[in-house]
Amino acid sequence: MDLSQILEITSATDPGMVRSHNEDSIASDPANGLVVLADGMGGYNAGEVASGMATTVITTEVAQVLTKVQPYEIDDRNELAATRIVREQILKANTSIYQAAQSQPQYAGMGTTLIVCLFYDNKVMVGHLGDSRVYMMRDGNFSQVTRDHSLLQEQIDSGLITAEQAKTAAHKNLVTKALGIDWTVEPEIHEYEVKVGDIYLLCSDGLCDMVSDEDIGMTLSMLGANLKLATQQLVQMANDNGGRDNVSVILVRVLKEYPAARGAMSKFFAWLK
């Protein structure tokens, strides 16, 4: 099913005001309903290599798999195909990055955060690792969808510090999960129902560290009519506030419903359940 007429996708990535390199990488495949964002880390250009590999591997592999499998199908292990596709392609990217890091000394220790969103059948499957985020704007309410895999978030969860203290904490930069740093990884994957008019925001920490959630939400509610402008505005706000890190933004608006066109057989099975 071609989703390019159903999802409006705009994106921007910018090195920011301080860094010379852009270690972020973004990719989108509107027809397959896939958007990917990665924020790489590692010395010299290794961060760019890791994030670039992540987005490339995942977009090409997912497109490949979708020619054979439909994301709404339930496989013989009683698992939704979308979950499996997202997990397996993340693991594939993990292996590629890990092996590159092992074999090339200049890439040793490289890794990347990751957000993968696969839209299908009026739903979205979100896989993530690290401190890049997904937010959602629905009916004027702005909320954060993903929870960071960061030391800070774990400390907040265990009650060591409050969200207020977290804003000035000294170790904002420590992530507890990332792609490509170990031979295997456990991505966090969740499925969400999608409503027409929803706007999904994928961003690297260069945006959410520099611009308050309140200002991001305000931008989306005010400029939601012009997604391209909203994207530029978000990057500009991060840079106006100092732009200390690379900034990447992907916005996805759902224009129409997109129920999967299931075959007669699967309709029959759905009826049986």
Partner: protein, 267 residues
């Protein structure tokens, strides 16, 4: 050389250079920094200094140690950190010239907390709970492990790059917006003619949704107007602004969705 400035109620009492590898702080006389106050424990805290880096550790004091108003057990001291023990304040001043802005930016970079470190901490927590098998103790141990990993990881991050001197906290809050003139819009025609709108927010939208909307953005460089939606673009001083942002000057005349308004700088 790094030093501490001891003060109480804003009154500077003493300056203490951190010459020793271990500088102890407490109420008892054998401490390197003696603070004779009942709110301070006998052996309250210790500062371990290795080359240019100093680490503060609370020694299980009764009333705790605060750094920049946050309770800490272990803390990697950064320039201008304020350590509080009861009413007393110790300000940490790093060696002058040691903090390099470029290196500070480097320290801000995202780093992975190696899973092995987390596992070690989890095992440590497990070992700790094995002794006192109480649920609260288990939770406390897990939390302590989390904290320990935090400081250890931070210390490790520094240790990998010995050139990195204690700089400002890794992620200081965004610098306050420089004082910039406040702009406002006064409506000249339409139903609300004469009404004034102060542009205090970073974004203000004008117009009718679905017909014609423009946004006024407040930036460090000044105010800009940008077309958002609608078939027609707004005009400034009679000229259409197109789709790109247009910088606004004092007393510019804007026309949007049939309404005329004037932009002006208030202060």
């Amino acid at each position: 050389m790094a030093k501490l400035i001891l003060s109480m109620d804003g009154l500077v009492l003493k300056e203490i250079p951190l010459t020793k590898e271990r500088t102890t702080i407490g109420r008892k006389p054998h401490n390197d920094i003696q603070i004779d106050n009942l709110a301070v424990s006998g052996e309250h805290a210790v500062i371990v200094t290795i080359l240019n880096d100093s680490f503060l550790e609370d020694l299980g004091s009764t009333n705790g140690t605060l750094v920049n108003s946050n309770t800490v057990k272990k803390h990697f001291l950064q320039n201008n950190d304020v350590v509080e023990l009861g009413k007393y304040k110790l300000k940490y001043i790093a060696e002058p010239g040691a903090a390099q802005p470029a290196e500070k930016a480097d320290f801000e970079k995202t780093m992975v907390l190696r899973p092995s470190a987390m596992r070690a901490a989890a095992e440590q927590a497990k070992a700790m709970t094995a002794g006192g098998a109480q649920p609260q103790a288990a939770e406390a141990a897990r939390v302590a492990a989390l904290q320990a990993v935090g400081s250890a990881a931070q210390a490790a991050g520094i240790a990998e790059k010995p050139a990195v001197a204690p700089a400002a906290p890794a992620a200081p809050p965004p610098p306050p917006r420089p004082a910039q003139p406040l702009g406002a819009i006064q409506l000249i025609s339409g139903a609300n003619a004469g009404k004034e709108l102060e542009l205090t927010k970073p974004l203000t939208t004008l117009g009718k949704p679905g017909v014609q909307v423009a946004v006024l953005t407040r930036r460090p460089q000044g105010y800009f107007i940008t077309h958002v939606e609608g078939a027609n673009q707004p005009t400034v001083n009679g000229q259409s602004i197109g789709t790109a942002p247009h910088a606004l000057k004092d007393h510019d005349l804007i026309e949007l969705a049939g309404v005329k308004m004037e932009f002006f700088i208030k202060t």
